[in-house]
């Protein structure tokens, strides 16, 4: 066999090249999906939090007046917050998990399921809570 023929038939290291290609492909794919998942989950968390907060704000504006004494109308607050949460969540996959009235505070819980792209990881359920408190004596923004 000539030198040239010997060089052409020499496949030493061929297994290493294949292993490298496979390993790099897996690492790149895993890295890309992990980064994408991080962004999607964080984005879903922020959006769910915003929905919960907005719905709680709506509920906290339900006033019960007893003469000159004002307080939170619990039943109306729960109904208003629930309705608002369902309306706001309808634009996404978010779901209303519950509305709780804690004294003069309205607490809204929103859940959202995000399917992760990273191989082997299942869906993650995001739970965000929004709170708003009924207050009196506020006469301008920022108080």
């Amino acid at each position: 066999m000539s030198v040239v023929q010997r060089l052409r038939s020499d496949d030493r290291g061929g297994g290493y090249v294949l292993a490298f290609i496979v390993l790099m492909s897996v690492l790149v794919g895993a890295g890309v999906s992990a980064l994408a998942d991080a962004g999607r989950v964080s984005s879903a968390q922020r959006h769910s939090s915003s929905i919960a907060f907005e719905a709680a704000r709506v509920g906290a504006q339900e006033v019960a007046a007893d003469g000159s004494v004002f307080s939170l109308d619990a039943d109306a607050a729960r109904s208003a917050a629930s309705s608002a949460a369902i309306t706001l969540a309808s634009q996404s996959d978010a779901q209303l998990d519950g509305v709780r009235i804690d004294g003069d505070e309205v607490v809204v819980t929103i859940t959202l399921v995000v399917d992760r792209w990273f191989p082997g990881l299942g869906a993650v359920t995001i739970t965000e809570v929004g709170r708003a408190r009924f207050s009196t004596g506020i006469v301008e923004e920022g108080q």
């Binding site: 030493r12 790149v28 890295g31 890309v32 994408a36 984005s43 309306t87 634009q91």
Partner: protein, 150 residues
């Protein structure tokens, strides 16, 4: 030196592949690793952009709902979205597009703000990364006891 010994030396030199792996690494692996790093940078920037645009829409919707008129609402939404994206370090080609609409510009009305941003990737030309456009919408409800005008 006898020709036979010269031939043996040449053959031994041809079989000697010490250092071939280092050469392969320099020529192939280093540029590939650099490309993978840029790819991760591109994907990470897209993920951060999605977060930023979503958050900007949320903030802008709330700002518009707190404003006192439709015009003030649009202005407040523009400012809120721009500041939020700037604070997040997300650069939009030509600036973000912000559109504020409402079912009714009155107490109880639902304000919808849509933010569109074309994320700049000009510094990733080595991997021919394209500019990508992200859009997010968010709703906010105008307060019951808020004074609202035309």
């Amino acid at each position: 030196m006898k020709p036979q010994r010269v031939g043996q030396r040449i053959a031994r030199r041809l079989r000697d592949d010490r250092g071939n792996g280092d050469v392969l690494a320099m020529i192939f692996i280093v540029p590939l690793a650099f490309g993978v790093i840029l790819l991760y940078s591109f994907v990470g920037r897209q993920a951060a952009g999605v977060q930023a645009v979503t958050h900007a829409a949320d903030v802008a919707a709330r700002a518009a709902a707190l404003a006192g008129s439709p015009r003030a609402g649009q202005s407040a939404a523009n400012a809120a979205a721009t500041n939020t994206l700037s604070g997040a370090g997300t650069v939009c080609v030509g600036g973000p597009s912000v559109v504020a609409t409402a079912t009714a510009w009155a107490p109880g009305g639902i304000v919808t703000v849509t933010v569109t941003c074309t994320i700049e990737t000009g510094d990733l030309t080595a991997i021919a990364a394209p500019d990508t456009t992200k859009t997010a919408s968010s709703d906010a409800i105008i307060d019951t006891y808020r004074e609202f005008g035309p």
